[in-house]
Symmetry: C2
Subunit: 421 residues, 2 copies
């Protein structure tokens, strides 16, 4: 039904006629004559529709042949829907329940029909509103450990992993966006960049900061050459939907094989930036301090649960060719196995803070900014927050040896945020 | 002609009838009735024929559906001929003149028809004979720099590099042999291993050496996850053919994307092991010392020419996405570019000695041993050489910080070799 015609973007008006014959839709929604369709896409790339009917609701996501955030002048392959679907199937299976359920994928139309998450909102919105999510840290820490461990050569049958490396090596276009937007654009005068004019001097300083630029290149090299595991590839707080009791990860179209620390660093960077915005977002210092403390604790929980779950998986599911059981446990050397795990966790931590530091720069001086800062009406206040994000980001990227533990980062975030009004 | 029948191993008897209709053969050899065919394969995996006719000679290499070194009990896919051919085309183009010229490839018969290198011999044979090759160090250093740089994201258009990553991710079977035989088998009690019985105590010690086993796992992780460039994948002195003036690299069937230091470390390890065999191979101490000195100088030349050529390519051909010109040269920071290069060369050096250390272990206690040691008839003398190779290998793999420069390795090789009679 969906594929009989060549690719054409859906609209609320054409959707009942175009998708009304799909049993995957009518079974869950009721007859198409009674559908109500809203386009709700607020992301940078795609059309997203919520379709409601008498029997329920669904989300229909369709890729556009260009980047929505820029327009038709930035053409973009529809294949990204295919890679998103392939990645979502894998990530969803590696940590069941954390991705929306997928009902149907049509490659030619670049359409995914999936579960409508309700009453969920985007986590970034929740962090602006000041909502607390008691389950979130555990959910995200386990999601990171399970998806990142289970897509690697520590866990997978290596022929399957190599086939996946090959498959996702095809996601060149979206991977290229990450390569440019994270690691290159913010550090030179690129037409895609934008920044708060009050930061003009900071940006000049940044562009002359050799140590920072070498760190950006170092992390780009890690990203491009270290094929440790299947990454979500864009795991910021806008790619997570939350309700009081549930947490879901969406938008995996940037998936690629890369270093474990990339997803973790992206997420933690966005939590730490949210901390830096609180002073400007809350009516009172007490509220700001209290909520900032909650986000800092959330970030620590994410990391600590990640470490605990990764350790558990290392001990119980280390069946891949990098497991090394023949060399360690099978020679009665459990302590050696613990040392190997610690060395790996150290490397993941260094990558995590390196990637977090880079993420902060692109969110202040690159193309894609964050709603927490954009929501600050006062330009001076906003510049202060952004400047502190740059300071934090530089410390993480250039002086990783200052942060042997996540508590060291929390302390610096709290110190910087203490100056935020 | 070649593909009309299903796969069948060639023999000297059937070759004229089966290949006599190929213009690629008759043009270079003359009519098939006058061919003389010898099977000369001394490698571990394939049939290799030299075919001579009135007009010239050719080599015909055909994969067998099993590992020749073990027999039909170790089945192996014929696809390795395809990967060898694909790799040879690329490596040959990246450093023209260092691979034999390929005339024809037939995938179904797993046959490659290529230039007959004459009067070349295998380098390992030359190192046993004590021959000096004045051009060799320059040839190999440039080969390493050119092939390893030009297959990477420092040089290639990234979509092409990602397509090659995907292609060679399919070489699972031969890559798996490397993963097992280099990094795992030697460090546990594996049925494929063999060693000189006089080393029984050393092997027990080795198997209990936690630091060594952790180093092996660390280097295996580098090999499996660090997709820096297209490697030859088996670059020892048995994969190099030499004449007085020419040097060629053969047998690229183990090609895979991996860390730059792997090929370099494999090669240097084999040169250093050849040094350790000299005392037992030469009739006089003077001859042994002198020829050992030549091999040590050769290894230093290989590394230094590699560094010089890699530096030249870095400065002149750094067109890939990891080049970072936008961040450095384009912002008038040539010194920053030099620092980035130095950091990369440091990493390559650490990888190089790490892989060299692992290679030495597998050549003494794993499946595939080296002719330099095997040629030593006296078991005690041979055990002494092998033991020194293990000592050197352990130092390189476990204490890399001892070797800031290749001269530090030369000094240790010379010191160990000084005790070799």
């Amino acid at each position: 039904m969906l594929t009989r015609s060549p690719y054409e973007p859906l609209t609320p008006t054409t959707m009942p006629a175009r998708l009304g014959g799909l049993p995957e839709m009518t079974r869950r929604l009721g007859p198409s004559a009674e559908w109500r369709v809203r386009e709700v896409g607020d992301g940078n790339l795609n059309l997203v529709f919520i379709v409601e009917g008498p029997a329920g609701s669904l989300v229909v996501k369709q890729a556009l042949p260009y980047a929505r955030v820029v327009g038709e002048s930035w053409p973009m392959s529809l294949d990204r829907a295919y890679f998103e679907h392939e990645a979502s199937m894998r990530l969803g299976a590696r940590d069941p329940g954390r991705m929306p359920h997928m009902h149907l994928f049509d490659r030619e139309q670049a359409v995914q029909i999936m579960e409508h998450l309700t009453p969920h909102i985007i986590l970034r919105r929740g962090l602006i509103d000041g909502t607390r999510y008691p389950m979130l840290g555990g959910h995200l820490g386990r999601y990171l450990a399970r998806t990142l461990f289970r897509g690697s050569d520590w866990s997978m049958e290596t022929a399957r992993r190599k086939a996946d490396v090959a498959l996702f090596a095809g996601n060149v276009e979206l991977c290229g966006i990450t390569e440019d937007l994270f690691f290159t654009d913010p550090f030179h005068d690129c037409v895609r960049n934008r920044h708060n004019p009050l930061l003009d001097r900071d940006v000049i300083e940044l562009r002359g900061d050799r140590a920072l630029k070498l760190a950006a290149l170092r992390m780009k090299t890690r990203f491009c050459t270290s094929a440790q595991t299947l990454l979500h590839g864009d795991l910021h707080t806008g790619s997570i939907m939350v309700s009081a009791e549930d947490s879901r990860v969406i938008d995996a179209e940037f998936a690629t094989y890369g270093p474990i620390g990339f997803d973790i660093g992206s997420l933690l960077a966005n939590l730490w930036m949210a901390c830096l915005a609180q002073g400007a977002l809350r009516p009172s210092d007490d509220e700001a301090t209290s909520y900032r403390g909650w986000i800092l604790a959330l970030a620590e929980t994410v990391w600590k649960v990640f470490v605990a779950e990764f350790t558990h998986l290392w001990l119980t599911e280390r069946s891949g060719i990098l497991g090394g059981r023949e060399l360690l446990e099978h020679q009665d050397d459990a302590e050696g196995a613990a040392l190997a795990l610690n060395a790996l966790l150290d490397e993941i931590w260094r990558d995590t803070i390196g990637f977090a530091g880079i993420e902060m720069h692109r969110r202040v001086v690159g193309l894609a900014h964050i709603a927490e800062f954009e929501a600050i009406a006062d330009e001076e206040l906003r510049a202060g927050c952004e400047r502190r994000a740059l300071r934090l980001g530089r410390a993480l990227a250039v002086e990783p040896e200052r942060f042997s533990d996540i508590a060291d980062v929390s302390a610096l975030v709290a110190e910087l945020a203490g100056r935020d009004r």
